[in-house]
Amino acid sequence: MKEEGNLENRPSNTAFTQQRLPAWQPMLSAGVVIPGFLVIGLAFIGIGVGLLITSRSIQVLELDYTGTETNSPCNKCTTLPIQNNCVCKLNFTIDTLFKGPVFFYYSLTNYFQSQRKYGASLDYNQLSGDLTYFKSPASDCDPYRYANGKPIVPCGSLANSMFNDTFKLYQIVNGKENLVPFDGKGIAWWTDYNIKYRNPDYSPLENAFNDTEKPVFWSKPAYKLDTSDSSNNGFVNQDFLVWMRRAALPNFRKLYRRITEGDYKDGLPVGNYSLEISYNYPVKSFDGTKKATFSNVSWMGGQNEFLGIAYLAIGSMCVVMSVVMLIVYAKFRFPEDD
């Protein structure tokens, strides 16, 4: 009826608009899927085996010092009222060389650092050194915002509940106690230490904290966290930073110190040891436990059997699937052409 008159009104006829673009059209054919699954399966089994071997080679030593049992050396520290600076000693032996560098962690259980209100209870402006927030902390910090009429610095429950047990490790050699040197440098993330947390630009640092209160549970204010080293004082104190990095799970482990120096840089040799704990942190009220953990690390981190086993499981599943498909293919002869 209508002739092909007006050519300007024609719709555009490019490959894009007329759906004629060159394309790759993959097909899930038997020749691709069966070898594919086999390759994936074998690769995963290989990774799983590697992970398991590495994980098994990592040494871990855990010492529970909560003190709930009456025969535990730290039991005296759990009786109420909570005494300050109750010191207890744990003796243990190491049977094989604990390969270095050795990392010393403290572990807590049943402690939900990831609880929403608790985890959000802090003021990042304060912690990055902004003095205006020293005078008026953020409302997120309630109820640890003001005390005795003065603003709390650093405010919030997360900072308030900072872990305050301290440890000293001695090796008992010929009846004498040798102090094992601890290294506390760089235990927190570099980005936390250099970017996220900054001290206010004041010297001396103490003056910045005029007319402020220390957190309620702390025994000393932030500017006295490490008086011997000014780069480890105030908000950039390594232990404080490690605590403020909220753990995801209720049973967690946080790095306390490294053993890398002196006679112990190759590890902890065989022998008797004594761990002296200054027990300050109460955990009985929420049925938590405290542990001191020694561990070494590898390219995949700490000891983690879950990853190795999961890889092995998935790998074997893929191999089994590939075999099943091969059998089905042989039996039913997938139709190739119609």
Partner: protein, 412 residues
């Protein structure tokens, strides 16, 4: 499977056509007769309503909409078709001779009738797409499981769409179930792996922000792989959108965790350093790989079993298409599709008398067309009445859209 009011119920044994004019239609559309009229009309292959008013056109469309479980497409080209276009489910306007009123009122418009063929086949595919993200959009725009020639050659492929095989309650439920199980795995696999995770230098890795970054990254990768598996036709645009959205994710992630943004808004961008510390660890990438595999491998397995053991017509055609890709010659124009027994009744409307003579006289045609026609074919307005009637009925038959191009007017 089909309800009582579905259009698939009617089996057309003989080829009947119903012709009804406006005056009779006025009676047929009365409340006590309309259902009877509709049933009769649906038993016919073609229904021609002539000399009807625009209002009656809309009334017939509405009658079909109300009583039949069918989607009503309507094609019109003039201002008198606007009410009909607006009443229908899908209105198609043809631009041109009669102006743009129909186009302005319609959902789709084109310039020539024959384009309707392609529109009919592609519409159902578009209608089901309500996604938002770019890779899925690219898939919706460019994906072709079967190319266009084969689609037209095998219209039976569209049956699965018409009978709601591809998007129904069961499919939706399975989709939801798939989503729930994927999110379950996406959380619990990293959760299990993170129980004791430390970095290579011994410092903490099992913190909240690292877990969040790991899970989010796994999610984006799983979703991208999933859309990759669903895409049958990888054009350049698909590649761009899929890889591009992955790149965008990482770019935005690192931007949000950067020092600069933290400096300006410390409280909002408090995750500074999280992605840097997290994604530079081998163990985290192993967790991401594991999570991706756990989510994708079962799906891949089921998919390949289904495609190879129980192939649908689409799958068979795709395989055939691929094996013959190089040999088949390029077709320039579509071949006329041979009509099998149509199960849809088509309706045609004609306007009231008065325009037929005017149109055939050629007075309203454009200059270049008139010059090519023979002048002696123009008829004088006051000719024999019978001749006029004959000519008019021929003109009327041109506008029935159940069979494009099938009836040719003698005067053309």
């Amino acid at each position: 499977m089909y309800g009582d009011d579905s259009v698939f119920e009617e089996a057309i044994i003989a080829e009947y056509a119903l012709v009804i004019n406006g005056h009779s239609l006025a009676h047929a559309l009365e409340p006590q007769l309309e259902v009877l009229f509709l049933d009769l009309a649906c038993l016919c292959k073609s229904v021609i309503c002539c000399r009807v008013t625009p209002m009656q056109k809309a009334q017939v469309v509405e009658l079909v909409k109300r009583h039949k479980r069918a989607v009503t497409p309507v094609v019109g080209d003039g201002a008198n078709d606007v009410s009909m276009i607006k009443t229908s489910h899908i209105g198609v306007g043809i631009s041109g001779q009669e102006g743009m009123q129909a186009v302005l009122a319609s959902d789709f418009s084109f310039a020539q009738f024959r384009y309707l063929q392609r529109l009919l086949l592609w519409f159902i595919t578009l209608f089901n797409i309500v996604y938002t993200s770019l890779p899925v959009l690219a898939m919706g725009l460019f994906d072709q499981d079967v190319n266009d020639q084969n689609s037209l050659r095998h219209p039976g492929l569209y049956k699965s769409g018409q009978s709601h095989l591809l998007f129904n309650k069961r499919q939706f439920f399975l989709c939801t179930l798939h989503g729930i199980s994927t999110s379950f795995l996406l959380f619990f696999v990293p959760y299990g792996a993170f129980s004791v995770m430390v970095k290579e230098d011994g410092s903490q890795l099992s913190d909240q922000q690292t877990l969040a970054v790991t899970i989010a990254t796994s999610l984006v990768i799983v979703v991208s792989v999933q859309i990759g598996l669903d895409t049958h036709y990888w054009t350049g645009v698909n590649h761009l959108f899929v890889w591009g959205s992955l790149t965008m994710y990482f770019a935005v992630l690192f931007a949000m965790h950067s020092d600069g943004l933290f400096g300006i808004f410390p409280n909002t961008f408090s995750c500074v350093g999280a992605s840097r510390n997290c994604l530079s660890e081998t163990s985290v990438w192993l967790v991401i790989l594991l999570t991706t595999a756990v989510c994708i491998v079962p799906d891949l397995f089921i998919r390949s079993i289904r495609v190879n053991l129980f192939p649908t017509q689409t799958d068979k055609l795709r395989r055939l298409q691929q094996s013959r890709k190089k040999q088949r010659p390029q077709e320039q124009n579509l071949r006329r599709v041979r009509r099998t027994s149509s199960r849809r009744s088509a309706y045609a409307f004609s306007h009231q008398q008065g325009f037929g003579e005017l149109i055939t006289s050629g007075k309203n045609m454009r200059a270049n067309r008139i010059s090519s026609t023979c002048p002696h074919e123009r008829t004088a307005p006051s000719s024999n009445f019978i001749d006029n009637v004959i000519k008019r009925t021929n003109v009327v038959s041109c506008v029935s859209f159940g069979s494009p191009n099938k009836h040719q007017s003698d005067t053309e």
